[in-house]
């Protein structure tokens, strides 16, 4: 258990590096705001007629897209500077390192989007009573997206044109999260109990958090040998 300080220091280091590249992250936040605004603007005066379910759907799609946008940079610098190879020789388990990367990604991409969501809800005229549930699904959902996303990012790290490829590969994998989150929101809007659908989102969360660091670690091991 002597490793815990080194794990914490590594986490802080990764966070510091994320702060260093803050412009990259800001682009994805800006993208989120832009997508939602463009939706609202293109509807013109009709935005008031938007049903709450459609509005939360727009928010969720925008969150998914901007998460995808931020993923390409997640391992790119590590790969170019040879840090990924050094990870292989670290005393900290590789899966834990991958978990740290996913958590840092969530802090830099998911959390800011979460904080921006109330403002965007204002743009789309989402009623206030749905906002807590929306934020809850986003809080769980963005962590799932980060975990799956780091998996995809590590898979495509050495490839040319990884950004657009990543989008094509990951969107089908993101679909279940999106669907289950939307079914939670729909239950809330219809006044039904959200318990059962929310439970499925939690199941997805547990599975991705448990398995994706482990899978990304093995992907890293397999791919670095040939890259």
């Amino acid at each position: 258990m002597a490793k815990i300080p080194s794990i914490i220091s590594l986490f802080l280091l990764e966070l510091k590096r994320a702060c260093h590249h803050r412009v990259d992250w800001c682009v994805s936040w800006l993208f989120f705001v832009l997508v939602v605004s463009i939706f609202a603007i293109s509807l013109g005066g009709q935005v008031r007629q938007l049903l709450p379910l459609h509005a939360v759907g727009i928010i969720w799609v925008a969150v998914t897209l901007s998460t995808l946008l931020s993923l390409e940079k997640l391992f790119r610098a590590d790969y170019k500077q040879g840090i990924l190879e050094q990870y292989l020789f670290s005393t900290i388990p590789l899966s834990l390192l991958m978990l740290i990367k996913a958590m840092v990604h969530w802090l830099a991409s998911g959390l800011p989007l979460l904080l921006l969501t109330p403002l965007m809800a204002l743009f789309l005229g989402i009623p206030l009573n749905i906002l807590p549930v929306l934020l809850l699904t986003l809080a769980i959902g963005t962590q799932i997206l980060s975990a799956l996303g780091s998996l995809g990012a590590i898979l495509t790290v050495g490839l040319p044109r990884a950004g657009i490829l990543l989008t094509v590969l990951l969107l089908p994998l993101y679909l279940p999260t999106l669907l289950l989150a939307m079914s939670v929101l729909a239950s809330q809007l219809e006044g039904q109990s959200t318990f059962s659908s929310l439970a499925w989102v939690w199941v997805l969360w547990i599975f991705t958090q448990l398995f994706s660091p482990w899978i990304s670690a093995s992907i890293l091991k397999v791919c670095l040998r040939d890259a």
Binding site: G158, V168, L169, P172, L179, E190, I219
Partner: protein
């Protein structure tokens, strides 16, 4: 018994060797292609003329003789790809990876065919081209996975890395499809899904069933022959530096057909 198993295993390993697989593919694919054409012709004729028309759907149901085999194969080809990727990732079976790469485009075609025939059938039967129910959505996502897989294959030039990356992606997609199916179903049953899509499938009488079975065999054989053909050329491309390929080339050029292999290799 044990000796027999051992023998069988040995023989399978021997067919896993590129050269033997090449010979196997060369000798098998004309037969499978011929058989598949016979089955497809017979099945089409029987489906169109011999099978009785349905009392509810009249003749419109006959598109099922194309729709069901292609839908069935779209899923099974993906499973084959995932299984082969697993074989490649765990035991480094080269042939498995070649079969997976050769299958992707065929599977994508079957998926597109299933989607198209389903839409054509759906318009007169359901009154709409498309419904977002679980089966259709997961078929569409399957199509996207196929396309993603093909894009990923072509994006990486070094073949060993691309095989591994694609293999992992195929396995991830295999987990994804049932989850998508389940979550759409969950969404729909929670919130009054399209009830038209939940028609109960009546048991099929024998005169309608047997052309379908023949068509399924025909489709399967067609897939097999195309995969054998494609993996043969892929095999030659990958093994172009080995001795047996150069021997093959020399032999074929002495038989005065230089273009057949020359085109593949370059």
């Amino acid at each position: 018994m044990r000796k027999m198993l051992k023998d069988l295993f040995k023989r399978m390993i021997a067919y896993g060797a590129p050269k033997n697989f090449y010979q196997l593919a060369t000798s098998w694919y004309p037969w499978t292609l011929c058989l598949s054409f016979i089955c497809l012709g017979l099945g089409t004729y029987a489906g169109l003329y011999i099978a009785p028309s349905d009392y509810q759907q009249s003749d419109a149901f006959r598109i099922l003789y194309v729709h069901v085999p292609s839908a069935f194969l779209s899923l099974s080809v993906y499973t084959i790809i995932a299984f082969c990727s697993f074989l490649y990732l765990v035991w480094k079976v080269k042939i498995a990876d070649i079969i997976a790469s050769a299958s992707a485009a065929v599977g994508a075609t079957f998926t597109l065919l299933a989607l198209a025939t389903g839409a054509i059938w759906g318009k007169p039967m359901w009154g709409t081209w498309w419904v977002w129910d679980a089966r259709l959505t997961s078929e569409l996502i399957l199509f996207f996975l196929y396309l993603g897989y093909i894009c990923l294959r072509s994006a990486v030039s070094t073949s060993r890395l691309s095989s591994k990356v694609c293999g992992i992606f195929a396995l991830m997609g295999l987990i994804d499809i049932p989850i998508v199916h389940f979550s759409v179903k969950w969404w729909n049953t929670l919130h009054q899904g399209p009830t038209i899509s939940r028609w109960a499938k009546p048991a099929m009488p024998w005169p309608m069933l047997w052309p379908l079975l023949i068509m399924m065999v025909g489709f399967g054989l067609f897939y097999l022959s195309v995969v054998l053909m494609r993996s043969r050329s892929e095999l030659l491309r990958r093994e172009r530096q080995t001795q047996w390929v150069s021997q093959l080339l020399r032999r074929s050029s002495s038989c005065s057909m230089p273009n057949t292999f020359g085109a593949v290799i370059s």
